[in-house]
């Protein structure tokens, strides 16, 4: 890659916080460092990955609204987690976490368990879980 070919495709994936570093060949044939805000294919792939994630979050929200899943299911997807990863953060067996995704089981959770979930999901209050308000998250 020549220095002049270092991609400058800015899709704001770095939010102005830093730059990518690329190594490219200058006019004398020597390798030098050059900053880059992004590369088009990477931007596309990243956008595609986030589309996937966001689609899953919307589907999860819909299932919670229909009372087919508990609010934990929505927040789990919002944190890009699956039950296995969430179970690790909560420090419980995955099958237990899986049960907590059922609205009927979710209702039986005690304060301590709810607080654990709220903490992992970055929620300030357990109330966001217990009295789940879809409008707040749309």
């Amino acid at each position: 890659m020549k220095l002049s070919e270092v991609p400058k495709d800015d899709a704001n994936v770095l939010e102005g916080k830093t730059s990518f570093i690329q190594y490219a060949v200058d006019n004398n044939g020597n390798y030098v460092q050059e900053k880059s805000p992004g590369f088009h294919p990477q931007n596309i792939a990243l956008e595609n990955a986030w589309e996937d994630v966001n689609e899953q979050i919307s589907e999860a929200l819909e299932l919670v609204i229909q009372n087919k899943k508990s609010p934990i299911y929505y927040f789990m997807h919002r944190e890009i987690m699956d039950t296995k990863l969430l179970a690790e953060y909560i420090d419980l067996w995955a099958w237990k976490v899986k049960r907590h995704l059922k609205p009927s089981v979710f209702k039986t959770l005690n304060q301590e368990q709810l607080e654990k979930y709220a903490k992992v999901f970055g929620l300030n209050e357990v109330n966001d879980l217990v009295n789940f308000d879809p409008k707040k998250w749309m």
Binding site: M1, E15, Y23, Y31, H40, M81, E88
Partner: protein, 337 residues
Amino acid sequence: MDVNNIAFDHKISAHCENGVSSNLMDFYGLKLSEPMVFGIGAGLFFTFLPFIKLNGAPVTSFRPMPGWIFSRVSKSLGVKIKTQKFSRSPEKAMNELNTKLSQGIPVGMVVGVYHLTYFPAPLRFHFNAHNIVAYGRKNGSYLVSDPTMENPKWISAEDLKRVRFAKGTYKPNGKMYYVTDVPKDYDLSKAVKKSIKHAAMMMTKAPGPFVGISGIKLLSKSIRKWPAKHNKKKAARYLGSVIRMQEEIGTGGAGFRFLYAAFLQESAELLKSQELLQLSVKMTEVGDLWREFAINAARVVKNRPQNNESYDSVADNLLIIASLEKTIFEQLYKLKL
């Protein structure tokens, strides 16, 4: 206790582990460029593992196991390092960090990026093999050098603890590492020769179909099957994941080829080798082909065509790359340096 007396020089790099290694060595008076660290660390690698899924797609990796580069660089130059892990005790992990900092020692750490507060949000997935160095402390916050950031960052103790104990694939478990002894002199030429041989061996002679050139060919073969085997969306996600592994911070396929080419160029000068210089030029050409592959693949990801042709053309790109890399690494392997 506040720590503000560690004269650590933060420098940005293309890849986090290179950067941490280079900056840490630099602190102890060993000046090595990022390409040199990458080369001696035999950081060039490829593996495709169709049966292991990460974030819902098969694993493609352009880097060796996390920690490999740093440990190889240290070993080949005779630098002694100490590595510690704390599987279930975050408090102990933070105390150990504080102790080392108060002794004036900069400390490397493996962290997850998902909860890394200063990191750009679009890049915050559950990825656990990121490397940073802590080298200061004030009012309970830590000054860290993250080689993917232009400037040093402050992070609260709570946040640092959280990322050091991120969960999921490759859990860091609070892993930290630091230099304990640096030799008075070292043989850079020897390290360079050995590492070239090693990287060339991994790329051309690793047994099985998953590593090196064989891995690239296997990926090519799999890509051809994706549109028939999976629905449009899944096939696109799989291909998108290859691009992300290739181009995202610190995992770069094309980027790594250019880094390696830069390393070969630097080595050519060190060893006065015309052949290395020529192979550096060839390596650059392969880097350009990887970039072309990414551009082609991104087009497929975006348009999500159903016909197999577009996937075939992407797979063809990889076959050309595989055959060129085979020639280069076979030559590197045989080279008398």
